[in-house]
Symmetry: C2
Subunit: 474 residues, 2 copies
Amino acid sequence: PLGLCCGPAAAATNIVLLLMDDMGWGDLGAFGEPSKETPNLDQMAAEGMLFLDFYTASPLCSPSRAALLTGRLPVRNGFYTTNGHARNAYTPQDIVGGIPDSELLLPELLKKAGYTNKIIGKWHLGHRPQFHPLKHGFDEYYEDFKIDLKTGEANLTQLYLQEALDFISKQQAGQQPFFLYWAIDATHAPVYASKQFLGTSQRGLYGDAVREIDDSVGKILKHLQQLGISESTFVFFTSDNGAALISAPRQGGSNGPFLCGKQTTFEGGMREPAIAWWPGHIPAGGVSHQLGSVMDLFSTSLSLAGLQPPSDRQIDGIDLLRVILQGKLIDRPIFYYRGNELMAVRAGLYKAHYWTWSNSWEEHSKGIDFCPGQSVAGVTTHTQEEHTYLPLLFHLGRDPGEKYQISFGSEEYQRAVEHISGLVQQHKATLVPGQPQLNVCDQAVMNWSPPGCEKLGKCLKAPESDPKKCSWPH
Amino acid sequence: PLGLCCGPAAAATNIVLLLMDDMGWGDLGAFGEPSKETPNLDQMAAEGMLFLDFYTASPLCSPSRAALLTGRLPVRNGFYTTNGHARNAYTPQDIVGGIPDSELLLPELLKKAGYTNKIIGKWHLGHRPQFHPLKHGFDEYYEDFKIDLKTGEANLTQLYLQEALDFISKQQAGQQPFFLYWAIDATHAPVYASKQFLGTSQRGLYGDAVREIDDSVGKILKHLQQLGISESTFVFFTSDNGAALISAPRQGGSNGPFLCGKQTTFEGGMREPAIAWWPGHIPAGGVSHQLGSVMDLFSTSLSLAGLQPPSDRQIDGIDLLRVILQGKLIDRPIFYYRGNELMAVRAGLYKAHYWTWSNSWEEHSKGIDFCPGQSVAGVTTHTQEEHTYLPLLFHLGRDPGEKYQISFGSEEYQRAVEHISGLVQQHKATLVPGQPQLNVCDQAVMNWSPPGCEKLGKCLKAPESDPKKCSWPH
Ligand SMILES: [Ca+2]
Ligand SMILES: [Ca+2]
């Protein structure tokens, strides 16, 4: 299913994806965070290229990560639910589904070009044995979980950093091209930081976590430089979805000037901080307005490895190398999905909302608010509002906060919506939805007997299988 | 009234204040504006020092500018009203008052150190002859007004740029120290740009104006460098109040992640973009969290000229040179006034609101909204809410958007409010309010016979004097 263009080259470019968890667009100094506490990331941007218009493929962890590793929208790769309309679904302990074997993951493909692949941190594509990362192309997998929920102290980021440095050293020593997927989670609630970073940020615990990540990224980049492989290693930093405003301020970050956060298809839910770094290749201080997507990391990584993307299926990611190396701009839309529904589409600077929803009144009345302090009439709705015949249109250049609807009667509206509606038609006409993987939950599939449970006398017997529709409230 | 420390030194440092009108904290790329269209200002920041916590002294033009030029809070220098409680007042055509003769303005003081002073653009400290800038220390005054309201086209920024360049050249040629107060207004509604900038921004007309300003600032800095006087010229860029969200998106800017805008004492109304530039003196790439104020530009400028501030009156500005040159942090509070009322106080990262108000329900119901798309319960109130006995407390590091009130019962609240209340007591105990200058309006004082009216046959006869209380709705 894939065209191998050149075979494993001796000088294949290493790939390091630094994927944050729930970090928002506005969390870095380079993106205007008022405390400006990310000197290493800001420096990474100054030496590389800043992407200002970079998106995830879902406002929630699991589908976003599935999209990144497959280069395909969740609605294609199965990481969505049809249990309800426009519902965000993920992979809790009792989920039955996971990443289908039929999906080709980035590490599987890179393997054929001689790469050694390691995932450090969060996988989130299914818990059952058949969904294990080592079954889907990764050669190594490292994760740990110990967090002191009361103090927020945990040295996990240090462990993840050390794992990354060791892996890089080992691969460099062995002259092996590598793919490192550093999927750490210190900025996901419960947020944590190591002792030496606790209390060091102006921003509280969340900021401590960001500072530790910033420090770690600096160390990884420096390590690459010290090993003399920075010019043969492509590094990309981004996040899996917008900041979880529901957990802010102690446990959640910032989406800068954008509307709402995680769980929503407003800019705050899906626009991500993004930096590409590759000394000697990427001109320093670059800034790109390319509409980018985490799915592009799939295609771009293949390109770096000298591989062609699979030709037997629709790939949504595009190869960004021309953008990154030559400053080109590629015309392409961004599709904002929530579960099984295409909620909005961006083309150029226009964004059309075909459906609006933050969450239900019922949830909202319990204090669950995806848009705290923000409320745009007719936009941040608490009922699912259909606008498929007359989409709400916004100009993200003049109005990045999605506050000022463009008048239905205007010429500008006519022109933009006609264009976007054409893109939607084309998209829908060719869309083959995957089997939804996030429909069924069953307590029997949970890990009742984790490794080592015998010693602790804590092994539990799995209950009888009782598959049910998972409940996805929003 | 002033202690002259050294007399006019041959090598006195020139001073250029670039004061924007209604430009918001979030309007520059360096402050996270998503279109990142201000390469010259971003470069200025990279070569100089970025101030992230810099404030105006009033969320409205006239009082802010009076504070800048006197180094004193509007409630001291008279630029406020007592016609209503906590009302923003300014200097419309029919205002009777203006800057009192008893106030000592920065250019008056600099004059004694041999400076030549020029104001280009907006004065706004009173229209009547006794309030003219040439009566208050300026040697030259240039302003123009022609704007095509339909297209937004006007070449005023180019005229103001040329005036600035010419003035600088002339002073350099004459070896004269100078103070240039470049108070342009392209970002104040009606927003305008020159033909060559119209339509060039992703952000629409407002962005066109910002791009032209950015280009002009670049040209001014380059001019200083080409004349070889950049090392003897201190340049400071800031704005007079927060972005006017009421005019957004076409005629108003962005306050980034902050709450509300112009007219309010929330961060969006009073926190300003700020950059200090002085090659060879300010270390490049500096970032400061000093709590700064436009009033500090008064004291800092005097210091640069080798002058002591007046000792016969309370000066609110502080000399920032230690901050700028040595990276020191000076402990000082920020007082957020609205008219005659102290609405809020910031000390360190804490901000206490003693009064909350955005605008009246009556105004709001007419669509006048100072916080579009934003609403924080109990904070962005539409009635004037008093909290003087139990102020609302926010931590601007964790919560720059003023959305998450710190619990009244917490230890953190006790500690912070005790500290801030002490500062308030001290402030109020020594406060001597000035005679309010913005109470009385009279159509008779308007300029009925502008220069040249005879030729056009458009001279009008002033009506009988009929002084009234000015009406300040918010
Ligand atoms: Ca996430
Ligand atoms: Ca103003």
